[in-house]
């Protein structure tokens, strides 16, 4: 009876709201692209060298390792968890991979990288088991393993350093090689981003990650294997951090036990700037990767623009804050638009 009483305009109002919401949904990533343009274009005008191929390649290369970690982190954050140990996992994997290559000069490239990935995977598995089976907050667990993994790293390294001279050329070339002008490391990162993005968007278990983050209790009730999925995300995050560690060796050539110290905050910042909700349930890996690119680009721009060294950190901090503020204001406007366009149209 009330259904017939609902004014005929209601559906159109609702579709308007929906169109707005999908549009703004896309804007979240678009916003970062715009922000990137706002940073790059003025810099390029001041210093045209900034957009030469070598410079662009460097930009992408610099961002690629943080972007990789941000992809893994996104999987975890979407389920309302966080993995603070990624910096330490990267460090451990980087050192062990480098040492493996140095100790076994004949190691095939892929095998060595696989070794690094396996190290990361083992760390991720430990995190995942503790969080999923112990049923304890991931922030505390991974803060704990942040220390533990780094400690193990130090213990194994014993103050040693692996130098480029001890690493096989195949590995070092990987760090600088290009395919069609695009650095291989960037391509690897892109592949990981695409795979993760498709998985999150179009696969059932990917969607279940959003469900878990959105409402953990409801996820259990809906029959989603919550513990298993969370374990998987931590394993994946560890795996990606392991890969990033191996690539770190290829990129920088010199590795000691301190590699990647403090990287976790950069990664979390990239994820947040990329529009992934820190309390789970929404966000994309593309956004997170773009977030990493934006943060990296800001750092580079400040150098290129010859901003005095002492000002750079303050400015990038301020820019990070403005990025999340703008994002939040957009979201608030969307909420208000939804409210006024939808209003009392429910039957």
């Amino acid at each position: 009876m009330t259904a017939q009483l609902t004014p005929a305009v209601a559906p159109s109002r609702r579709t308007a709201a929906r169109r707005l919401s999908t549009r703004v949904g896309r804007v979240r990533e678009l916003g970062i692209v715009v922000a990137l343009a706002l940073v790059v274009i003025p810099t390029a005008i001041v210093n045209p060298r900034f957009i030469q191929p070598q410079s662009l390649r460097d930009l992408l290369l610099n961002a690629s390792i943080v972007a990789l970690l941000a992809v893994g982190q996104t999987l975890v954050v979407i389920t309302r968890n966080v993995d603070l140990s990624v910096g330490s996992v990267l460090g451990l994997s980087a050192f062990l991979t480098a040492q493996h290559f140095a100790d076994n000069p004949g190691t095939p490239l892929l095998l060595g990288i696989g070794f690094g990935i396996a190290v990361g995977l083992a760390c991720g598995l430990l995190n995942g088991l503790l969080v999923a089976l112990g049923n304890v907050p991931s922030l505390v667990v991974t803060l704990g393993t942040l220390y533990v993994f780094r400690g193990v790293d130090f213990a194994l390294a014993q103050g040693k350093q692996v130098n480029a001279a001890n690493l096989p050329d195949a590995l070092l070339n990987l760090g600088s090689a290009r395919v069609m002008g695009i650095p291989v490391l960037v391509l690897i990162t892109l592949v990981v981003i695409v795979v993760a993005a498709v998985y999150l968007r179009s696969y059932r278990s990917g969607r279940e990650l959003y469900a878990i983050g959105s409402n953990p209790e409801a996820a259990t009730l809906a029959g989603i294997p919550v513990a298993k999925r969370m374990l998987t995300t931590f394993v994946l995050s560890g795996l990606v951090a392991g890969l990033a560690g191996a690539l770190w060796v290829a990129r920088y050539g010199t590795v000691d036990a301190a590699a990647g110290t403090g990287l976790e905050l950069q990664v979390v910042a990239a994820v947040v700037v990329g529009g992934v909700a820190i309390f789970g349930g929404s966000g994309t890996v593309t956004g997170a990767a773009l977030g990493a690119l934006l943060l990296g680009t800001i750092t580079s721009c400040l150098v290129v623009l010859q901003i005095p060294a002492f000002w750079q950190q303050a400015i990038s901090g301020a820019l990070l804050l403005s990025a999340i503020t703008v994002d939040r204001l957009l979201a608030l406007r969307l909420a208000k638009a939804l409210r006024t366009s939808e209003g009392t149209s429910h039957a």
Binding site: S55, F154, Q158, G159, A165, T254, A259, V303, V304
Partner: protein, 333 residues
């Protein structure tokens, strides 16, 4: 009123050593010496530590390496206090911050510890002797000379330093600037000083930034082992290889590859293990009463031979070695 800078003038300076040393006293056996680098797990200090341990074996002293895992200004203080607690005979330390460690060192000295600083000094009144790897002048002038030779005497150059607060770095940079003001270097122009924070990745990216910011850059001086390695690594894989020259202070093992592939023509460094060796010998000499740290005192430091304590309690290891393609393979550290 109030406590202002001007009203606080009671700073004391210079080591005060009342007692006189006995040059003929034998080195005591079984001395307990704490070796405290800026940071454990830092390859440079790992090499220095080897030297210290060698010296320890030679004089039958117990050398105990310890230290923080981060190079923050204050993190050494706990270890200094602990050494005092443990009633060690001497402390060999490379200070992260000349002032931050001073109060703790002073109180350790009051409790009878002999304090020898190496590599990076603490406030002079807080230690007995400072083992200087080379004088600031020697190092800085050497670096400027190397880069001038590499770039052919003219062009823009930049410096890639460690942290903005590193005492020795800043001292060298100051000398480099005065050096560059000399007529023979009038062709060189220092355009920027960047800070890589002694972090590989940061140094790497700062190198990139320097090259983009200064299209006409001809050379980079990086007087820090981490920085010079990162910069070399970046240059060797970029299109700037061979076009932009690099020199600095680096270890031969780290730099070998880049010297061989032509990215770097020459760089310099002293042997860190000799530094550790000398510092430990000096500590033993102090603890045995051979010397007190007063200017002019002489002592023998094992294989390294005789040394004399200079002004302000400083001992200089000797001029740094310059490494080139021709000699680099003779070194392994």
């Amino acid at each position: 009123g109030g406590t202002t800078k001007d009203s606080a003038g009671d700073q004391t300076g210079g080591a005060t050593n009342a007692a006189k040393g006995d040059p003929n006293a034998a080195l005591k056996e079984g001395l307990k010496i704490t070796f405290l680098p800026k940071q454990v797990n830092n390859p440079y200090f790992t090499v220095a530590q080897k030297g210290a341990e060698q010296a320890g074996t030679a004089i039958k002293a117990e050398v105990k390496p310890t230290g923080p895992s981060d190079a923050a200004a204050s993190s050494q203080v706990t270890y200094i206090n602990t050494a005092a607690q443990q009633k060690q005979d001497a402390l060999v330390i490379s200070a992260n911050d000349a002032n931050a460690v001073a109060p703790a060192l002073k109180s350790a000295r009051q409790q009878g510890l002999k304090v020898v600083t190496f590599d990076s000094d603490a406030a002079p009144d807080a230690r007995d002797v400072f083992i200087n790897q080379a004088t600031s002048n020697e190092i800085a002038a050497g670096q400027v000379k190397l880069i001038s030779e590499a770039v052919g005497g003219s062009g823009e150059i930049a410096i890639l330093s460690a942290t903005p607060n590193a005492t020795n770095q800043n001292a060298w940079i100051e000398v480099m600037k005065t050096e560059l003001a000399k007529p023979e270097y009038s062709g060189l122009e220092l355009v920027e000083t960047a800070y890589g924070n002694d972090d590989d990745q940061t140094s790497f990216q700062k190198t990139q930034g320097l090259l983009q910011a200064h299209p006409n850059l001809k050379g980079i001086i990086s007087p820090t082992t981490v920085g010079v390695a990162a910069a070399a690594r970046y240059l060797s894989s970029s299109e700037y290889k061979g076009k932009v020259q690099l020199t600095g202070l680096g270890t031969p093992n780290q730099m070998r590859k880049f010297v061989q592939d032509g990215t770097v023509k020459s760089f310099a460094l002293w042997d860190p293990s000799k530094l550790g060796y000398l510092a430990t010998y000096t500590a033993a000499a102090l603890a045995s009463g051979q010397i007190t740290g007063a200017e002019g005192e002489k002592y023998k430091a094992g294989d390294l031979g005789d040394y004399t304590i200079g002004a302000k309690g400083e001992v200089v290891l000797g001029p740094p070695t310059v490494f080139t393609k021709d000699n680099i393979d003779q070194f392994d550290f």
